[in-house]
Symmetry: C2
Subunit: 121 residues, 2 copies
C-alpha cells in the first residue's frame, strides 16, 4: 500500500490551501464577505465587487504585495476579478471556498481524496 | 481600517494550514485516522501509535522526506510523537485538527480571527 496519486503538483486542493495559509489573504477573503461593512467608502457600486484600490487602502502593505495576494487568491479560484474601465473589481467566491473546505476535510479523512481537483475548470 | 494584527509569524493557524498544504501530509493524517486499516502489519500494539517505519513503508518517498513531513505535522501540533525504546510512535490529534478547521473557518468569516493561535501551548 502506497500513497500513490497524491503527488500531483496541479492539484487544486494544494493551491487552494496554500492560498489560505497567509493571514493577509484570509483577512482579504473575510472582508470581501461583507463589502458593505468594510468597503462602504467605495465610490462605485459594491455590486460590481470591491476595487483593488480599496483593498489596498485597507491593508498596511505595499500595493505590489496586495496585488500579489489578490493574484494568488484569484489563481486558486477563491475570488473572481472583473475589469471595468481602469478598475478591477473583486468578489469572494463563496461556493469555491465551501468546496475547498469540504475537500480539505475529505482529504483529512480519506487518503485517496488528496488528489481531487478543487476548481471545476 | 487596516488588517492590523494579522502578520504575526508565530501564528499557529498559519503553521497548521501550511502543514495541510501538502498531499503527503494530508494522506499521512488520513491514514493515522484508521491505524487498524492502514497499519495492521505493525508488530507493536497500535494503541502506542503508528511507528515512523510503518508510515515510511506506506509512502513512495525517501525516509528523510517522510521524517520531514512528520516533523512538520508534529510542529503544527496535528500529530503527537512518543519514543519507546528505538521507535517513535505517532498519533493523529483529532482535537487539534478540529480546532484548526474551526479557526480556519472563523478566519475566513472575520478579519480579526487571523491572528488566533491554534495550539493551546
Amino acid at each position: 500500500m502506497t500513497i500513490e496519486g497524491t503527488l500531483d503538483p496541479a492539484c487544486g486542493l494544494d493551491e487552494g490551501i496554500k492560498a489560505l495559509a497567509h493571514p493577509v489573504r484570509r483577512a482579504i477573503l473575510a472582508k470581501l464577505r461583507e463589502p458593505e461593512r468594510y468597503f462602504a467608502a467605495q465610490a462605485q457600486p459594491l455590486s460590481l465587487g470591491v476595487c483593488a484600490g480599496q483593498i489596498e487602502q485597507s491593508c498596511p502593505l505595499s500595493q505590489s504585495s496586495i496585488s500579489a495576494h489578490l493574484a494568488a487568491l484569484q489563481a486558486a479560484g477563491l475570488i473572481s476579478g472583473r475589469r471595468v474601465g481602469p478598475y478591477v473589481f473583486f468578489k469572494r467566491d463563496d461556493e469555491a471556498i465551501e468546496r475547498l473546505l469540504a475537500l480539505l476535510r475529505a482529504a483529512l479523512d480519506q487518503p485517496a481524496c488528496n488528489s481531487e481537483p478543487v476548481q471545476s475548470s
